[in-house]
Amino acid sequence: MLIKKPADIPYSEVTDRKLYVNRRDFIRAAAGVAAAGAGVVSISETLFAAGQPAPHGRKLDGVKKSPLSLAPEQEKTNTWDQITSYNNYYEFGTDKDSPSLVANKLKTEPWSVQVEGECAKRGNYSLDDILKGVALEERIYRHRCVEAWSMVIPWVGFPLSELIKKAEPTAKAKFVEFTTLVDYGTMPGVRQPVLRWPYVEGLRLDEAMHPLAIMAVGLYGEVLPKQNGAPLRLVVPWKYGFKGAKSIVRIRFTERQPMNSWQESAPQEYGFYSNVNPNVDHPRWTQASERRIGEFFKRKTLMFNGYADQVQGLYAGLDLKRNY
């Protein structure tokens, strides 16, 4: 205690005996305890709201199988509840359960995407335009979060390359930048300056053209739940999850490397590439292993999240320790 000189403190104070307490003090004490109890109850109530799975949505028709998908017997897919109640989607709040609790207010119809920059077919395209003529495929992919947890997710989508080809990028286009919606009405998280809004992500054009990179519009054969990035999100399975921009409203082709939101917020922790790499640790935790949601023992993280055979050619000659 700095308040009294220690020598002044009578022995009785630290042994907590012999304290004179009157009736009124006792009543106040009881009130204090009751208030503390109420606090515990209210905290429990907020915790109880945790993780609301998405209600089941419309079935998507004519979804094809893909040879690029994991076979269900290869790795067990995570459940609908797991995939839709544990999300990082900071526009809806930074708790894992915030998106599942508030994203239902988001309006995903009508939806349009602004296509801009170094391409011939600039313009504002409705989601219907974008989906016209594309064949939806199921792609069961590993999903590795930069926070060292992972899931196996049965996305439904189409190759990003198809969309890019339609936009006809010019010879100058070297990168693609994706921008997420900012809507103050339905996204409580964007009122907090946790990241700079809108959320921006980017890929090199050759990465974006890779057959594994998809635009997802569905999950488990149904329309994509809002907490997972409806109506249109990027999925790049060999990169950390945050590269997969959600609820995309703008796609821009650029000559220069885009600045993605996480890199801007902490450049020494999150790079532009953010390829899953067990040999390059996050400054604050290891990336060598991961917890698969639903499992107790950790798994070893695989180079490029297990997609090394397909994608390592993209990075020939690149120092992956420097270009994390």
């Binding site: 006792f26 305890v33 515990v40 429990s44 946790v194």
Partner: protein
């Protein structure tokens, strides 16, 4: 019943039981699937948060007493501090099992000396390597001597003066715990900053009162300096 007895036999056990509420709730929610789909992470975070909350509450007792004049609140200080340590130990155990043990290889089977050695090495290495773990561990280790000397016997043995001096380590632990929290969050620093502000007020009040006291002592001191 006298007020004394009501405090001792009713209020104190009630506070004691309420302080076990978070543990009871976590156990129940964990067993019935009422945590998130990553329950091990929830258990780590919740036990850490409750350790920090109890630490802050126990550090709030003295200022509360001073401001309100409710002398009887001091009776709860030691117990609340012990709960901070209790949740801190749980936090460390959950981490050791869910973060370290779950990441081991088991070349000689799970129940073996190799496993024990590897677990100790894994915890030690992590404390050494990751600054936020180092400081969290520091916060817990600072509470250890306080927990040990929390008994009436130790108070008697040390004497009020030395006991109080030793227990000022709680301030350092509080600062270390807040730094631990601040360092571990990814981007949303609002909650760590809130706890930092609470800690700053609780410790700042002590500095302020100490200054006031020193000033008033100086004013009333005789003109000729006394020999120490």
């Amino acid at each position: 019943m006298t007020t004394q007895n009501v405090l001792r036999f009713v209020v104190k056990p009630a506070v004691c039981a309420a302080a076990l509420g978070p543990l009871a709730w976590l156990t129940w929610a964990g067993l019935t699937g009422n945590l998130s789909v990553n329950p091990l992470s929830d258990l780590t975070n919740e036990t850490g948060l409750w350790a920090l909350r109890f630490l802050a509450i126990s550090l709030a007792i003295t200022p509360l007493r001073r401001v309100t004049g409710w002398n009887w609140v001091i009776r709860f200080r030691r117990m609340l501090g012990l709960y901070a340590f209790f949740y801190g130990v749980l936090h460390f155990l959950v981490y050791t099992i869910a973060d370290r043990f779950a990441g081991l290889d088991f070349p000689d089977g799970m129940a073996s000396w190799t496993t024990a050695r590897n677990l100790a090495a894994s915890v030690g290495e992590d404390i050494y390597k990751r600054p936020f773990i180092t400081i969290g561990f520091t916060a817990l280790m600072l509470m250890l001597p306080l927990a040990i000397t929390s008994t009436a016997g130790w108070i008697r043995r040390l004497g009020g003066k030395r006991w109080n001096a030793l227990h000022r380590l709680a301030y350092v632990s509080g600062i270390a715990a807040v730094v631990h929290y601040y360092w571990l969050v990814k981007a949303d620093v609002r909650s760590p900053l809130l706890y930092a502000a609470v800690m700053a007020v609780l410790l700042g009040a002590r500095v302020y009162w100490a200054r006031m006291k020193a000033a008033s002592v100086a004013r009333s001191a005789p003109a000729v300096p006394r020999r120490a």
